[in-house]
Symmetry: C2
Subunit: 135 residues, 2 copies
């Protein structure tokens, strides 16, 4: 049983490492929020740059607070409206600090009982270009 | 102890879910290979499309076999040459089946004792554009 437990721990650490690496390695700016609270549960370096803050300043903060005219409720309701079934929701926001416009694409999912949303922050129009890049 | 174990399992499933979601959600075409064997341990839908195969046909196959003039050894040695410290290695390959040229960017890492490489497959020049997109 001890050996099985250790194997479980190893497998967990490996997926954890893969997840971390992938967050850093992707060209996308990615944030994960808790849908219930609207708080940022994870965010990569690239997304922190886009918001103009250190990563450590962003964890546990409300993502909506960084955008003009948004609250947790309006952000979640925008995330709940995918344009097609299975496709991510897509909408534009303006960053308070920089007045910069961003295109947000997001998808909700359930992880160990809690609902999370994975959100990509991109230049307006960039998501379309990227999706068509390899087709 | 039972409760702690269950909590561990929940945490593991959550990271697992996040990793899966992120692989699907990213605009990047991503493959993970075992450095020792050169075999594909994971690959996302976007990368499978680029290689022109179903995902299930690619898992456990040698990534180098899909590229003209490459073996496990030449692929790993290309991955071992980052252009700057900390930066991913970058090199071009040609897909056998389609003669399509791809820019590979890759980084080695160690996960539970095994060395893996995370590799991004992009159009030649696309990585540069993507990196500059938000700067």
């Amino acid at each position: 049983a001890q050996i099985a437990l250790e194997r479980d721990h190893e497998a967990q650490r490996e997926i954890d490492t893969r997840y971390r690496l992938l967050m850093d390695f992707t060209n996308d700016s990615i944030a994960l929020i808790s849908v219930g609270s609207g708080l940022i549960v994870d965010i990569n370096q690239s997304a922190a740059l886009v918001l103009g803050r250190a990563r450590s300043d962003l964890l546990g903060k409300s993502l909506a607070d960084f955008f003009v005219g948004h609250s947790r409720d309006s952000l979640v309701s925008a995330l709940e409206k995918p344009q097609q079934a299975g496709a991510p929701a897509n909408f534009e926001v303006e960053v308070k600090a920089s007045q910069r416009k961003l295109q947000l694409a997001g998808k909700m999912f359930r992880a160990s009982g809690e609902q999370l949303a994975i959100i990509r922050l991109a230049e307006p129009g960039a998501g379309v270009v990227a999706d068509e890049r390899l087709s």
